[in-house]
């Protein structure tokens, strides 16, 4: 059941957000948006989503990885650590392939990585799987 599940969409391209929001809403999700890493982190705390769809946001100095790192490693966001992150990018290389020697690789590796434009059936399937990973509601 997709109803009641919340997706937070963090992407600086408003057109991309518009089309993906409609797509997800059509599948029964409630969708929240943010247009930057900073706003994204604010919305995580505000809405407590079940899945985060996060763009790499290269224009803002790869802000996407910053969000990833914050959620998974900073104490400030410990409560949200288990929210699965689906990272999107127009670059085809995964973080592991792009930064094979990086020490911080563990910190910036998302749960799922998809290239844009999104393959719609694949995307919906991954969001569905990600939502299933998230701890169920009702727990404090």
């Amino acid at each position: 059941m997709s109803s009641n599940l919340k997706i937070l969409l963090i992407d600086d391209d408003k057109d991309f957000r518009a089309s993906v929001k409609s797509l997800l809403e059509n599948d029964g999700y409630a969708v929240f948006e943010a247009d930057s890493g900073r706003e994204g982190l604010r919305k995580v705390v505000e809405c407590k989503p079940d899945v985060i769809v996060l763009d790499i946001m290269m224009e803002c100095d790869v802000e996407g990885y910053g969000v990833n790192q914050a959620i998974k490693y900073q104490d400030l966001y410990a409560e949200y650590r288990n929210i699965p992150i689906v990272m999107t990018s127009s670059i085809e290389l995964t973080p592991d392939e792009r930064f094979p020697m990086a020490g911080e690789l563990d910190m910036i590796r998302p749960d799922f990585y998809l290239t844009k434009p999104l393959d719609i059936p694949k995307f919906l399937d991954i969001v569905h799987r990600a939502a299933a990973l998230c701890p169920s509601h009702g727990e404090a």
Partner: protein, 395 residues
């Protein structure tokens, strides 16, 4: 003892005490820190510890020979300049020393001037080689940044359009007609932006490449500006902005290329209209300033915050209003302006106050009528000296 941040060290290796002493005197007077050693072994240790820029080494020494010292230093630290001195100079030893890595060869006895000359030349060469290496690194970084930027800038609008169309297909008419129209409009808009970006990018590439013809002729400023204002009359009116050129006819002529000047002022005037307020004004004026013509494009617009000014002319830089969507445009306009202006021997700058407006000032070389003789002579001089005009590589 004052030690400048850039003080370089020179090591002298010679078993002759008098030679060490005089080298030390000459070289320290030049401002170098000098350390002297009496044999090859100590000398090598000293070089390892002190990391000098240059080493003066005598060929004939007991123990480790000068040639051996040269070979070893060159192997491990090839960036150190090696000057070989000897009382028994022969062509063979000279060649041999060079082959082992010496920069130059100085036969004894030598005058202080001769030593100074060789040291200066050697260090100059070292500096140039370091600069070259640095340039190569910078170039590789810039190239990578360029590729990433371009692929991202080009990909993003295409991705947005593709996603819209793909989702429309997937949702199969479940979206309202109004929403579908809106999305199709956005697709068109993004595609247009992409085309504009490619056009600007090619302009920029053409400016940097050889295909750019650099024929500077007499250009009539007033006419060029007037034409541009005519082009944007309707757009300005739609934005509630009034346009005014205060440039008198037949007064200001600059040395440049008509097309380039059109591009420059087109960019500035469009910006002045776009970033303006309803009821605002765009005013273009000019004045003569010691061999140059200074043109001002002033608007009564939103202004540019101080913190963005250093980046204004950078590629893809766009001022973002907090909380608003990204401002339209390719982000290349001002970068192109700057390149073109610089190519023509001019300069561009901006004054701005937030919420009051901005004034972009372009200075260009004033066209001076030369006699036919002077022009011919100029052309001949260029040919003789093999002068080649460099493009776009000014600091």
């Amino acid at each position: 003892m004052s030690e400048g941040a850039e003080q370089e060290t020179i090591v002298v290796i010679d078993d002759d005490y008098a030679m060490r002493l005089s080298c030390r005197k000459i070289l320290s007077k030049m401002g170098f820190r000098v350390e002297a050693f009496e044999d090859g072994g100590q000398g090598l240790e000293g070089v390892t510890k002190l990391k000098p820029s240059l080493v003066v080494v005598d060929l004939k020494m007991p123990g480790i020979s000068g040639m051996e010292v040269v070979t070893r230093i060159h192997e491990v630290r090839p960036e150190i300049v090696l000057v070989v001195i000897t009382g028994y100079p022969t062509i063979d030893t000279a060649v041999g020393a060079m082959k082992c890595g010496a920069y130059d060869f100085l036969p004894k006895p030598f005058s202080p001037d001769e030593l100074r000359l060789i040291v200066n030349r050697g260090l100059e060469r070292r500096r140039l080689m370091q600069e070259t290496r640095q340039c190569e690194v910078e170039r590789a970084l810039l190239r990578r940044r360029f590729i990433t930027f371009v692929s991202h800038q080009l990909q993003t609008p295409l991705v947005a359009v593709h996603q819209y169309l793909d989702v429309l297909k997937h949702l199969d008419n479940t979206e309202s007609a109004a929403k579908r129209q809106e999305w199709l409009d956005r697709c068109l808009k993004r595609t247009e932006e992409l085309q504009a970006l490619i056009k600007d990018w090619l302009s920029l590439a053409r400016i940097e490449g050889e295909s750019f013809s650099r024929q500077w002729v007499k250009a009539d400023l007033q006419r060029i500006i007037a034409e541009i204002l005519c082009t944007y009359k309707e757009m300005a009116a739609a934005n509630g902005v009034s346009l005014e050129s205060r440039i008198p006819e037949n007064t200001y002529f600059v040395k440049g290329d008509g097309n380039c000047l059109s591009v420059i002022f087109d960019n500035l005037i469009v910006n002045a209209i776009k970033y303006n307020k309803p009821g605002g004004m765009v005013t273009i004026s000019a004045e003569s300033l010691g061999g140059e013509v200074a043109i001002a494009v002033a608007d009564t617009g939103v202004g540019i915050p101080e913190k963005y000014r250093p980046f204004l002319f950078e590629e893809f830089f766009r001022v973002e209003a907090e909380g608003h969507e990204k401002t339209p445009g390719t982000g290349l306009g001002l970068s192109i302006c700057r390149r073109l202006v610089t190519e023509m021997g001019g300069s561009i700058s901006v004054d701005s106050e937030v919420n009051v407006g901005s004034t972009f000032r372009v200075r260009l070389l004033e066209y001076r009528a030369q006699t036919e003789e002077e022009e011919k002579k100029g052309a001949q001089d260029d040919l003789r000296s093999g002068k080649d005009i460099d493009c776009g590589r000014r600091p």
